[in-house]
Symmetry: C2
Subunit: 145 residues, 2 copies
Amino acid sequence: MGIFSKTCEYAMRAVFFIAHRTANGGRVGIKEIATGINSPEHFLAKILQDLGRRNIIKSAKGPNGGFFMDDVTLKRRLSEVVEAVDGNGLFTGCGLGLDYCSETDPCPLHNEFKAIRERIHQMLENTTIEEFNEDLNLGVTRLKK
Amino acid sequence: MGIFSKTCEYAMRAVFFIAHRTANGGRVGIKEIATGINSPEHFLAKILQDLGRRNIIKSAKGPNGGFFMDDVTLKRRLSEVVEAVDGNGLFTGCGLGLDYCSETDPCPLHNEFKAIRERIHQMLENTTIEEFNEDLNLGVTRLKK
DNA sequence: AACATAAAAGAGTTTATTGTCTTTTATTGC
DNA sequence: GCAATAAAAGACAATAAACTCTTTTATGTT
């Protein structure tokens, strides 16, 4: 695996996709999202339900329903998405998996890992969905070939 | 999970442990390693078999047998252990899990992730088992509380 | 040669992750 | 109120990761 779980990868791509598709109002359905980011539909549905409960995305049932973002959710940071799905083990855990490892009682690689973890955290912390969306709008990047 | 798989964590701890216990000759048995690094014995056995096949550690059967390191294996880098167990997905994969993502066709977070991945790789590349062992010998660090 | 030791190999089980399918609930428009 | 729509929820199924137990093979010692 990469750095994140598959679930977390889907979550990030989906959030970006929803932001991109609904920045100017409207909603987008689960089918379109799943196709758009290349993920299994029903599995993604579960993930989005969870993100909805945590107020990272918005959703509405019924006709004209679907997923969308509002001013609050657009301001969310990528770190919040990752933490919601994968927890904070990536930011806090010991590289060697040692329970005792801490600042005062460091494992052999503690300081090296600490620097890397902080770097990852920073990157995710500094990226808001909104910001990111601008790149997508500019066509600089995309979410699927 | 943290950055590495559990299997990989055990592998790293075990390699360090073996190096530490056999730097001045001798061998160490699977039971002692498992206890010493706090891992399930038989599961660790599998991992060590694999590391042996890949010539990252050495082993000998029979009485006075066990695991050990020689001049060659002591020079191995931590990156080789990680790659043997977790593959190179951590060093090469896309952060968002996109297949197309590459240098010429980067995903939204490509450059940020690239920097982090390179950092991780560098850290693991720059750490040889031998070097590491010196820290352990100095009592600066340990593998189990 | 026989025995004891210790890793290697094989064949599982358990748990977590990932993915699928069906039913229920809420909302909108008529 | 009724039908259509779309997410929420529940109940599984498949795969992979983590872990366990037993048997086999190699090697040193007597």
